[in-house]
């Protein structure tokens, strides 16, 4: 029997987290363990989790400090792997999976393996917004031949990258490709990781596995939208992507990314001081180059 560990990373979103946990409890395919990674929340999350009883085995991991989504997912995946789970199912604390979401993800992965071979590195869900529309910022990147499995009767679209909102990752992929870069802290960790694990074979988006992403405002993101409030997130995003472009693709991609960033900031009429700060973060990507951490790292 397949054995799936669910991983939810949370920070100060207790009410949404309660919904997430309830959604996981309702899965038609029960998880073997639910790992809740509390990123040192400062609201009542800690107290709530301390007394929580769930219908599935629960393991609460309280981080000593907020390591961002990237650090939380890295820790959760390590824990899920160490629990002996066949697959680790990861999601944010505002992601509500439909009751059959997990069952469909497992079946979708198995179907894809049957056609593509054993190296299919993940399956991910269709992410809807609370109004039933597609979630703008959680659309996977399809391959050029994305419909190959569809025409064979599967509910799978082949993809190379997705966000960490309901992704099922088999343990072999974690053993082989390692954990997400916790140093990224936030933004681009999911993109980098899914691109990393699809080096040899694409993943799949399973069309009948759906989750609702309760993210407040259903907008995509681009660099023209930077303001003072969101600067901190964009700073991580720029640094992380610049690092990835330079150290994993090449200097021309790094320069192209810098040019794209520059133009986007200009078109968005972003205040000059913010532009300067973000271009500085782009340069920071030159020296920022974390190493992959594997499950056997002490």
């Amino acid at each position: 029997m397949v054995n799936v560990a669910a991983v939810v990373v949370t920070f100060n979103r207790l009410e949404k987290l309660k919904n997430v946990i309830a959604s996981i409890e309702k899965q038609t395919l029960p998880v073997s363990t639910l790992f809740v990674i509390d990123n040192a929340s400062t609201d009542a999350t800690g107290e709530y989790l301390t007394g929580l009883e769930t219908t599935v085995p629960l393991s609460v991991v309280t981080m000593p400090e907020n390591l961002g989504g990237a650090g939380g997912f890295a820790e959760g995946m390590r824990r899920g792997y160490a629990s002996g789970a066949d697959h680790v199912w990861i999601m944010d604390d505002d992601c509500y999976p439909e009751p059959t979401a997990l069952q469909a993800l497992v079946r979708g992965l198995d179907d894809a393996v049957a056609e593509l071979g054993p190296e299919v590195p993940f399956s991910c869900s269709v992410v809807k917004f609370t109004d039933g529309e597609i979630c703008e910022m959680n659309n996977p990147v399809p391959t050029w031949d994305w419909g190959r499995l569809l025409v064979r009767g599967q509910q799978n679209v082949m993809v190379t990258a997705c966000s960490f909102v309901s992704v099922l990752i088999p343990r072999w992929a974690i053993a082989e490709y390692g954990l997400p870069y916790s140093e990224y802290f936030i933004w681009f960790d999911d993109r980098e990781y899914t691109l990393r694990v699809t080096a040899r074979c694409p993943g799949v988006q399973v069309l009948d596995s759906t989750v609702v992403h309760d993210m407040g405002d259903n907008r995509g993101v681009n660099f023209s939208m930077v303001d003072r409030k969101s600067l901190w997130k964009f700073s991580y995003g720029v640094r992380n992507e610049a690092s990835w472009q330079l150290h994993h693709r090449g200097v021309l991609y790094f320069l192209e990314f810098g040019a794209r960033l520059f133009v986007s900031l200009h078109r968005g009429r972003v205040p000059l001081d913010l532009r300067l700060k973000l271009m500085g973060r782009w340069l920071r990507g030159i020296t920022f180059n974390p190493r992959i951490t594997h499950v056997d790292a002490s």
Partner: protein, 560 residues
């Protein structure tokens, strides 16, 4: 508690018998061995044990620290999960602060094991050569100039020379725990007494459960211990697929095949596994066969059980650092008897390591596979070419490249000889390269270990031992017993059997020249060949006139 058996082996745990269905004898014993270890580390607890598969490169994961927390990339595919219950009782002792990491590791509710399957083990592991430029150049150089490669290696070994000619500094175990010592963060906590009436047992540390002369002897000691009415508790510390764990000598033994590291789980000075064994069983003695893990803990055992005999057995002084005889000398204060298998090694222990003569027992292994009494010389038929054989693993120690160079030398000078090369091993790829580079593909008859050694000896007229290093080779004794004389490099204890006229220097270039000269002489003079065999047989008889290792250990263990 200690009488529980699974698959007719002592087991310190309970498990559903169905778990063993479909497993081979080797797989069952590996699993039982690993679960014994984890039963000791989790007394009175139930554990979920995940079993993973692996490819031919993945050695079993049985007891190492990652088997507690799952932190190994080797655990890629889970096969199934089984539940076990430890039958080991708690010792009721208040743990020391230094044991916290070990206790945290043991606190996990799951264990993660890889028991390599027989199907995988039967595959010959690929040894792909390096394909980068340096790798290709190195491979080419090694193929066309193997002896110069050996010379370069010998140069690098010179730095170990002092290890072979000077006495090892003795271990001061208790000082290791003093301030500034390597174990200053830990405390020595000797084991509790075993209860009255506990099963009498002996702890036997082996290298691994694999093929080899030293292992044959180690298995023999397990058999003798059981014959003496003691429960053999057999542990190994070298990672392996343990192809020989199913041997009958291990029937009824409590098995503990280790995978390493165990640094976190086995707290220095506390030694959770050993202390539990000492608490559960009436340990009457300890035997060490090439097991560094146990060497490192002999002092602790002696502190816990001062009176018990501790015997070790060593065979060969390694050029690189001295090997196990030097390890043995380092902890000699914790050893009551050093058993050695050759006069040469006895001299080294006495003269170089200054171990008191009364502590060193020389008893050869001759009785294990050979019966020299009835041996007769096997003459060569008229006109039959001299058949020259090499028998051994294709491994560095056995110097198969020297044999190939010798064949090239003799073939070039037009000698009418046959050449047989019998064996396989990690250097088979290199040997293939050399044979191809020398154009000797049709000259050397190759045989794998699937052919019996006896068959090859039945054809051979001379056995060549070109080794870089040896103890006293069993194949030498076996060849003489089959009427075949032996020529050899002057290494280890070969001089105890082989006369100077058939010994050549160890240096590879001189060895090839010397062996060629001796073989040319033997090819031309059948009486010289017979005379060599008679002198070797005489020396062998003299050596075997000593009490054999088997006889000595049978008497020894009977007093335990």
């Amino acid at each position: 508690m200690t009488d529980h058996r699974i698959h007719d082996l002592p087991a310190l745990f309970e498990i559903d018998d169905m778990v063993l269905d479909g497993l081979s004898e080797r797989e069952i014993r590996l699993l039982i061995g690993a679960l014994n270890f984890h039963a000791i580390m989790a007394p009175e607890r139930e554990l979920d044990v995940h079993l993973y598969d692996g490819d031919v490169t993945a050695l079993p994961r049985l007891t190492d620290d990652a088997t507690f927390d799952g932190g190994s990339r080797q655990f890629r595919h889970r096969l199934r999960t089984v539940r076990m219950r430890s039958l080991v009782t708690m010792d009721g002792r208040e743990p020391a602060a230094a044991e916290e990491p070990s206790l945290a590791l043991s606190a996990h509710h799951e264990r993660h094991l890889h028991i390599s399957s027989d199907v995988i083990v039967a595959q010959d592991p690929e040894r792909p050569p390096r394909t980068d430029l340096i790798g290709r150049v190195a491979r080419r150089v090694k193929a066309v100039a193997p002896l110069w490669y050996d010379e370069a290696r010998d140069l690098t070994l010179l730095r170990h020379r002092r290890m072979l000619t000077s006495a090892a500094r003795r271990q001061s175990y208790e000082k290791q725990f003093d301030v500034g010592g390597v174990d200053e963060d830990f405390l020595i906590v000797p084991a509790a007494e075993a209860p009255r009436g506990a099963t009498r047992a002996v702890v036997i540390g082996m290298h691994w459960f694999e093929l080899g002369g030293a292992e044959r002897w180690a298995f023999e000691t397990v058999r003798l211990a059981r014959e003496a009415g003691l429960l053999p508790i057999v542990l190994t510390d070298r990672e392996s697929h343990h192809a020989w764990i199913g041997r009958p000598e291990l029937d009824g033994a409590l098995l503990l095949p280790f995978s390493v590291p165990t640094d976190i789980s086995q707290t220095p000075g506390v030694e959770p596994v050993l202390r539990t064994l000492l608490r559960m069983f009436d340990i009457r003695g300890v035997v060490v066969h090439h097991n560094q893990w146990l060497y490192d803990r002999l002092a602790w055992i002696r502190l816990s059980r001062p009176g018990i005999p501790v015997v070790d057995s060593t065979h060969i002084v390694e050029y690189r650092g001295g090997g196990y005889p030097r390890s043995s000398a380092i902890v000699s204060d914790s050893i009551s008897t050093h058993h050695v298998i050759s006069p040469q090694l006895r001299n080294w222990m006495l003269e170089v390591q200054r171990i008191p003569a009364e502590k060193v027992v020389m008893a050869p292994l001759g009785g294990l596979t050979i019966k020299p009494k009835d041996a007769t010389f096997r003459p060569r038929s008229a006109g039959e070419p001299l058949t020259v054989a090499f028998i051994g693993r294709l491994a560095r120690q056995k110097a198969p490249e020297v044999f190939v160079s010798l064949v090239r030398e003799l073939h070039r000078s037009g000698e009418d000889m046959r050449f047989v090369m019998h064996g396989d091993g990690e250097q088979s790829g290199w040997i293939d390269d050399i044979i191809e580079a020398d154009g000797l593909g049709g000259v050397i008859a190759r045989r794998t270990s699937a052919v019996s050694v006896e068959d090859t000896l039945d054809e051979a007229h001379v056995l060549v031992i070109p080794s870089h290093n040896e103890g006293l080779t069993l194949t030498t004794l076996e060849a003489i017993a089959k009427g075949v004389p032996v020529v050899s490099t002057d290494v280890g204890a070969q001089a105890d059997i082989i006369p100077a006229s058939a010994l050549v220097p160890r240096n590879v270039h001189r060895a090839v020249r010397g062996l060629a000269t001796v073989l040319r002489g033997l090819a031309q003079d059948e009486s010289a060949r017979e005379d060599l065999w008679r002198r070797e047989r005489k020396a062998e008889k003299k050596l075997l006139a000593n009490k054999t290792a088997t006889d000595w250990f049978r008497n020894e263990v009977a007093t335990w």
